[in-house]
């Protein structure tokens, strides 16, 4: 298969001067380069956000610690949350989507390549704007630098009176700008997937990654827009003297909460559905079986897409709502667990009876399955409003959503890194180092986030700067912080492995995993035009059909 791929040009791009090559990366509209830019950008911010997390944890390692001041502590948790959601996980997921979608549907680029570049640079400058607050946030007021209002920035903390200077404005503008980028990406994903599929690839024959990103595109459009609107309102309040969230003039602080969480909860699914997509591509290949229950998988994701817009106020149980409000949002939260549970059964069904190969991508996906299940179970606990009144805003909540985001999404992302690294670079990574990364990160993750549930149950509230000894929290906080160092070590091994393999890895060939989707039919890394000849597909596993002409899939689908 690989040897049959046509290469149209034999120009050695590596021979050109470094200035030219960098210039290529800046002006590029190629979806593969933009995808890689997104991913590198995400990794850089992952390290920054990780350092912020480490600062938070070092401060909390013992009672009455004075590692940082309370003001710095507030900035650190605000910046950590904002960075990780908007400038780490989203760019990395969009990067993989941008890189993989055209390759998987047999297209030469996204539907709107220039919009694609525009979206990336908006996201990039949004992040720079946020971090510029460390320098420019002071304004003329001498009023602190980086944002310190928490990542959901509840009113009235964001009012001029309580947040002088420009720190909150950098937060607002950073998210506004990157939000426009995200909306552009959403539009591009939908259009690419609907309008650029290669001949024969009907909606029912698309790889699940394309299907799931189509749904993500739809959710981005409807979820990021409310955030954009709310940020515009906040800017009007702060700059034009408006009263949207100004309670003294009759405005409502609760309205901001609703607007934020009508974005905030679908956002969780915007982050997790692409992670589902990675797992749905990796698990079948390493189980040597086609995905179990393809149509159910698609239907379940569509359900998640819809229901995710009706659960937002479960973030607000402790704010106080009517009993019908509490009931409604408890019930919808329970309901959304059903399609999510269906997916877990689908992945297990795929692994069941397969010849499972535990290469690193599969290891990460297996860990994802267990951890995401536990994260879902604590989610159901918190979704029950009476339980939530007890543990809302405690470290139990923090442990729950880090279980989702780190134990679920980040593990799936690492799986995707190792799975597609050979395709993106043309080189294999070191399996030994990758296993070191996996085990270090796994141990660190469980030390940190398993034990974080306990101080939450014991009543430790989130966002506190320090705590009194003698409440039984000390030992748990110590263990949690120790776990952070294991995770950091794992990340170091990961970055070292990436850089080393980039320089010295074995050549990967076009199809190192004996996989079935179209991206493995072209060279690694793919040429700029992706496919010398646009492929024609007849089943969900076009490469299986080529490799097994005596028993092709299209006879059965």
């Amino acid at each position: 298969m690989a040897s049959e791929t046509l290469a149209l040009d034999a120009i050695d791009h590596r021979a050109r001067p470094i200035g030219d090559r960098l210039h290529d990366w800046v002006v590029t509209v190629d979806h593969k380069k933009l995808g890689i830019l997104y991913i590198i950008y995400g990794i850089v911010f992952l390290i920054i956000g990780g350092i912020e997390a480490a600062i938070i944890r070092i401060q909390l390692i013992v009672p009455h610690n004075h590692f940082v001041s309370p003001e710095v502590f507030n900035r650190m948790f605000t910046m950590h949350g904002t960075t990780m959601i908007f400038f780490v996980v989203m760019p990395i997921l969009f990067g993989f989507g941008t890189y993989l979608i055209p390759l998987m549907i047999g297209a030469r680029d996204m539907a709107f390549p220039r919009l694609n570049a525009f979206s990336f640079w908006l996201t990039a400058f949004g992040g720079l704007l946020l971090y510029y607050s460390f320098i420019g946030g002071n304004g003329l007021y001498g009023a602190g630098n980086a944002p310190d209002v928490g990542w959901f920035a509840y009113a009235p903390l964001t009012a001029r009176a309580f947040s002088p200077g420009h720190s909150t404005d950098f937060w607002t503008l950073g998210l506004l700008v990157s939000g426009f980028g995200s909306i552009g990406t959403g539009v591009n994903f939908i259009t690419t997937i609907l309008c650029m599929r290669c001949p024969g690839m009907t909606l029912g024959k698309m790889p699940l990654l394309a299907w799931l990103n189509l749904i993500v595109g739809g959710m981005v459009i409807f979820a990021i827009s409310p955030l954009t609107a709310a940020q515009i309102m906040l800017s009007i309040d702060r700059y034009l003297g408006g009263h949207f969230f100004d309670t003294q003039a009759g405005g409502s602080a609760v309205l901001w909460m609703h607007f934020f969480w009508i974005f905030g909860h679908p956002e969780v699914y915007i982050l997790v559905v692409p992670a589902f997509a990675f797992v749905s591509e990796i698990v079948p290949v390493f189980s040597r079986k086609p995905i179990f229950g393809y149509p159910v998988m698609v239907a379940a994701t569509v359900c998640i897409g819809f229901i995710s817009f009706s659960v937002w106020a479960h973030h607000m149980f402790t704010v106080g709502m009517s009993s019908s409000g509490n009931t409604f949002f408890t019930v919808t939260t329970m309901i959304i667990a059903v399609p999510t549970g269906i997916k877990i059964f689908n992945w297990i069904g795929t692994m069941w009876g397969g010849k499972i190969q535990f290469s690193t991508p599969m290891l990460f996906c297996t860990a994802f399955l267990f951890q995401f299940l536990i994260a879902g179970l604590t989610g159901i606990m918190l979704g029950a409003s009476p339980f939530n009144w007890q543990l809302g805003n405690s470290y139990f909540v923090i442990a729950h959503f880090h279980y989702v985001i780190v134990g679920g999404i980040v593990f799936a992302i690492f799986g995707a890194f190792y799975y597609w690294f050979p395709k993106m670079t043309g080189r294999m990574y070191s399996e030994t180092l990758a296993k070191w990364h996996f085990w270090l990160f796994l141990i660190g993750f469980h030390l940190t986030f398993d034990f974080m549930h306990i101080p939450g149950i014991l009543g430790m509230p989130r966002r506190i700067y320090t705590y009194e000894p003698g409440r039984g929290w000390e030992i748990w906080n110590l263990i949690v912080t120790i776990g952070v160092f294991f995770q950091a070590l794992g990340i170091l091994v990961f970055v070292f492995n990436l850089l080393r393999s980039l320089a010295k890895g074995e050549p990967a060939g076009s199809d190192p995993w004996d996989a079935w989707t179209l991206e493995w039919s072209t060279t690694s890394p793919p040429p700029e035009y992706n496919f010398a000849k646009i492929p024609v597909v007849r089943s969900r596993r076009p490469l299986w059909d080529i490799k097994h002409p005596e028993d092709p899939d299209w006879k059965y689908e």
Binding site: V187, C195, I232, M233, G242, G250, G251, S521
Partner: protein, 198 residues
Amino acid sequence: MSSAAITRTSIEPEWILPSRGRVGMFSLIAAEAAIFTIFVVAYIFYMGKSLSGPMPKDVLELPIFNTVCLLSSSLTIHLAVRALRNAKVGAFGLWWFVTIALGTTFLVGTGREWQRLISEKGLTVSTNLFGTTYYSLVGLHAFHVTVGLIALAIGMIFTVLGKVKPEHSERADIFSLYWHFVDAVWIVVFTVVYIIGR
């Protein structure tokens, strides 16, 4: 990908996919609709909650002429696109120009209304909740009209330079979707602000 197993065979029906421009524009419109929804919800939520005057019933007048202008511009842009599809570039330019004129009239009308509210009635964005929500919602819509007018003006420049050909009718058609959307939003804004909210 030169293997025989996946070459196009005669059993495949012709492969037709939706137009990129249309799908992209509909997606953008969906995102815009979500933004407007949040502003409309805020407007309705704060109706009658201002702690001080002026109140909508005291200062707002029905912008009938403006509304007629904007809504009829939807018809004229439709006529423009149809003319271009039938290769009548002259008629296209005429209807396109009328669309710009009607859109500009609307924008000037909004400007005069704001001027009256600010200087005569003393209502600004910081006066009360009504001012905040009114200027935000109507302003967001006016901003979208402005963006549409800029795009229309660029199209007009190309028309005058003689660069517009019948094969561009698809693009003009896709742009007209945006313009129709802006008009549809105005119907919602008009109903909420000037009828229900007054």
